[in-house]
Symmetry: D2
């Protein structure tokens, strides 16, 4: 029981020691970022905030690996960023091809349908990647270019599946198809290899609470010149999410059509500084290292990865399939109640069947080992005959061979 400000009692909050946060978002915020955000409001019309914003817009492009894109920092969540990407580039009735491979792609498709697009859903079994052969067929048939956009989730957070975006571009090029290429990079950007310009992505988006390791509250949308052009004729109704208003204020140099979160702007500055200090490629390598270690632990436990093929393995989240006699929700519940460990639930089709370990954002090797040690204990708690230490051993063997020295300490 914990009292925040006066006499409101807040249940569940305190446990001894730290919370081990291994959900695939929102993720751990580095202390440096928490400090940078611990501040009063400011007048966003003073010269200071535009000066800060200017550096952010310039630097945020680096995490998309784009030089030609135009970024927007919407005060919203990933769901809002989705809506901004769609409504600024498409008109009601437009045909789009969209891949359903798990809960988040499902939700995006639901949004696409509710926004009145004509959605051509390409479904895969949960645990598989997007069916890109189907894409090729559709493009091949679409000589009239009725398909206006391809919508794809780079990394499906529900199943731990990463789609191959380079291949999507290759197929588009192969058929010389002009469809817009819209990418949900919510659980990938800043953690997985992502190359907006090289892959010809037209709109990419992410949320501040994922690999950027901030609180929820900024939906970052980045638009290619082609997407910006499309926005001029897109007929979807939009106001809050309209790029036009932002572009107008960019031109004036005041940047904000409405009030931004001062705290998140300073937080984003600090988060980007940390990313660039570590080096974006090192950050991506670290995510691969921690993910590989996690997959080795899952193997050692004798459990199955929900992701069906290695090519789709996600470096930001691992969905672990539990034996049929176990309810995976019980694992999540028990982890939190006994070990202060926060794991991700199985969602929708895989509810009760998988639990998820999020390993994205500002994390290191020993935090992961603590988590894996905890998962082992929980597995035992719920009746799975795991050999305690086995997963940690597998992970540590890999990590001890691959972890570099911390650059600032060499």
């Amino acid at each position: 029981m914990y009292l925040v400000g006066s006499d409101k009692k807040m249940d569940y909050v305190n446990g001894p020691g730290r919370n081990h946060l291994f959900v695939p978002g929102p993720v751990n915020i580095p202390d440096q970022v928490i400090r940078a955000m611990s501040r009063n409001n400011e007048d966003y019309r003073s010269p200071a905030i535009p000066a800060l914003t200017k550096t952010l817009l310039e630097d945020v492009k680096k995490i998309f690996k784009t030089t030609s894109g135009t970024p927007f920092l919407f005060p919203t969540t990933g769901t809002g960023a989705w809506e901004s990407a769609l409504t600024n580039t498409l008109s009601p009735g437009d045909r789009i091809v969209s891949f359903l491979i798990g809960q988040f792609s499902l939700l995006w498709i639901d949004q696409q349908q509710r926004l009145n697009f004509n959605v051509d859903v390409v479904e895969s079994e949960w645990g598989q990647g997007a069916n890109l052969d189907a894409l090729a067929s559709k493009l091949a048939e679409d000589r009239a270019h009725t398909i206006k956009a391809i919508c794809i989730v780079h990394n499906e957070t529900a199943t731990g599946v990463t789609n191959n975006l380079a291949t999507v571009r290759k197929i588009l090029n192969q058929y010389n198809h002009p469809a817009l290429f819209l990418v949900d990079g919510v659980s990938s950007i800043c953690a997985l290899d992502f190359r907006m310009d090289e892959w010809g992505v037209d709109v990419a988006l992410t949320g501040s609470q994922k690999a950027l390791s901030l609180p929820t509250g900024i939906g970052i949308v980045c638009a290619s010149p082609k997407a910006l052009e499309a926005s001029k004729s897109a007929k979807s109704v939009r106001v809050f999410f309209d790029w036009k208003d932002y572009l107008k204020f960019y031109k004036m140099g005041t940047y904000w059509p409405y009030t931004p979160s001062i705290q998140l702007l300073y937080g984003l500055r600090a988060a980007l500084d940390l990313l660039f200090e570590e080096g974006l490629d090192n950050v991506i390598a670290r995510h691969n290292r921690l993910a590989t270690a996690t997959r080795l632990a899952v193997d050692a436990w004798g459990l199955k990865n929900c992701t069906q093929k290695e090519e789709w393995h996600s470096d930001t989240v691992t969905a672990v399939v539990v034996p049929e006699y176990i309810d995976s929700s019980e694992i999540v519940r028990s982890a939190w109640k006994r070990y202060n460990l926060s794991l991700g639930l199985g969602l929708n089709k895989v509810a009760g069947k998988v639990f998820r370990i999020g390993h994205l954002g500002n994390l290191n090797e020993l935090q992961l080992l603590g988590c894996l040690g905890g998962v082992e204990m929980v597995l035992k708690d719920v009746g799975y005959p795991v050999k305690l230490g086995s997963g940690v051993a597998a992970a540590a063997t890999y990590l001890q061979n691959t972890t570099p020295l911390i650059p600032s300490r060499i």
Copy 2:
């Protein structure tokens, strides 16, 4: 020059001493609230966040003075809250009556038009309140009930004008008109007397960065049962801002269709606790006290209030008209550059003609006197022959007579 995290240099930031933040939003955040928000992310699907959310939804109704309303805490700004209020209750083509009295009502009307409503704009001179006689005429004529909603800004932040909502309700009742009553309470709620149930308001909304004294990031929308009913048939396209998704998660007891800002939830808890500790009516009385003192200072300086009649005087912001030979933007610029005082610019029609003193949120008497002392010095800086100390004297004379003891210290 100030370095946030690594080698990014941030101009303009540091001055000796505190920034005196007197823009009408975002406003000063109490230290207690900054502390409550200085924290890591959490799993929003654990039992803790729903338990916290439940208390917030219950308590936030008190600031609207409603028991029958249903509140929504959108991760957005006031502009987003506007959009949510409109799209959930209305269908494209619906006729609405909307009052244009300043920049913010103008922006809302712009949004209404872009969302394809048929907006019947009732314009007043800037500095005047909404023309409610025109409303009466329109309702009188509208026997067919073609008017679906009345949209009104309770407090126009650009001119410091407060509209009389009780009268709006009276007129609606007089004509027994079923139009929805939608209110922008962005710069009023928690600061001015606001009575959702008593005045029969159907949707009221505010933003966290105004009188609630939080960072930007929560758009609070509160819907009456009638508004909820309307939302079932409203045909405006909406997904992110759709109440339906929230209501579905309310029913499940998990509350959030997508990721909220953990920090803002704890911050809102702390902000509400402070409000209730002081007492909402005391908070409103304090706003009236500080506003009265400000107006007395303006009189003493020999300057005019932009608000043309006393009945419209706003207790959250005062727009001060400067003599023609002065550019009010120069006042704002100089205040910030020399005295670390943040004042509000004149906007649009009153750009260069007024500057604004925001006196809302967690403020006290001596903060205001510091601001007024600063404004006097700036006025002199820009060539207005003010008698230094005159405004402070007028304000202090009033405050010394009216300021109560701090309850916790009696």
Copy 3:
């Protein structure tokens, strides 16, 4: 490289993820406490600070398990608290018996000698507890009561040895000896079973940065009525550390002879609240649980505990002996440079021979497993043929059997 405020570059600071702080002090500060301390200064002569201080003085007695003691919150470190304990109760030339069993008892003895007491040093091999048989002999011989005080370190942080204070009291009683019983509880109080009243301890002391889990800056000294009486005639020169000044201000109800740290007072309040919420006995049980797990890991690694007998095993710190061919400093260095893990160095006689794992303060099971996983990797890095996962497995087996549910989450 990290820049704190302007252009000072700070080396070594940033690594990806959290620092794993396992030195035996200063220890991890709970976020709740960091938040409580993140505040401006206040006038310590206002009514608020005495009111707060009063609750602290009352509640701090509980961590000493005393009702008759008088606590003092000196703005100092453990070294200062030592000095306060000695100079307030003894006069130059007084004979005292003091036990040398490691670096911290050595430093205290050094202080005792420099303060001109006649120190009768009873030395043990490092790794052993205090030689209480020698104490018995000395008391037996001391019919003239020339021994004025017994000085003993409850828990020697350098070797991980806990002395048996109940036995000290038994021996004192057995010889009916009036010597004062002075105890350094720096790395024990709030973590190990400590009973000031029951054991007849005359002065006990601790530091805020140890099991209380605060920053350094409060040396807490608690005096029995007998110690207070002794302070009236003690001739050691003292001013800053004089209890008399405090007692004078206690009487006046203003409490502070000089300026306290406002932040640490609020921090102490929060730390005590967390301790009492968890329950002091549960906190002590948690320390025992984590310590037992650590010792099991050390066994599994095939390494020796520096503590020579089980009866002396410390529940707050484990000193691990490394094979002769390894320099333990290299372990500490490597842990920090590669894994962001902070371990304790071997000090003085055991420099290079042991490294230390501090497991005190606000810690939980998974944090410990992360640390143990890290130690294993470091051991392998430096050439010790450890089986990765072995220590974690041993610890987890114990912990999985013994960890209770988190009370607030049941």
Copy 4:
């Protein structure tokens, strides 16, 4: 009523808006510094803390204007710093000349006497500066050099009197007297002109909670080479405050004989960065500007400054004499209870007769005007016939003429 962590209720804490902290210490902490300190503990034996400490020791010399001095950052208060200055340079029985001009010089003299020095007290009326003619006489007579040290408070915080240290040095030189020159700079250094090397000061000291604008907890002592030499033979008993232990660890490059406050080290770094960014001479000029404005306000109110001559006027604190029919404590009480304004009480001889306005540390013009406006209201509350606005007008007239643009915003 405010609850910090669990169910402890804290009275008096909350009022609407900010506390206006105008006691002469502890003073307002800049938000940048609060942020820098909002952090977990660290291992102070890692390479990071010595690297940080090294920059601090180098930079802290600048605030003393010394290149030859050796600074010590004791984890203590000003009272502890006094003790360190005395015990490291003097032996019991040593004759010292000490000036009694107010409560803080009185307390230092009390300490000197309790430390068994032979104190030759030169008393002045409270409100006057040190009687330096008496010093000249004493030195003239002391051909045998029995006087070992001159102890003087640079700025007496109780009466707002600044002594002329350059004259002290001139007199010492005139008589070619080898006495050590020990200076309490607690409420002067970083705010008043202070020149350790130029004035030949042998030990100067300050506290972190004064013009450095940090929390209480660092007593900064700076020793000249002559003082260091003296410390080798000084026979006063000391351990915690002994410079020798620090010097030993300086040589080893680990810097700390015992655990420092990690938070205060980072805070000191940020505080120094802010000072140097503003420019030490600009900081001193700002203190003079705010002090002059305060004195003009006091004149305008028709009240007397406790400081009897202009040459002694303090630029960090103004003690205001109230008419006989008013109890100055009532002013302090009322300011806090009604206006959330913290003023300094009159102490000892001037209790009830003066109240004090501290204007040191990180403050600006508008903060001061708020305070002065508040003092006026309080004066009226307690029955003094002040013309409201009169003091603010006088101060503002001066400030409007003299305040420079904020350099970072030009």
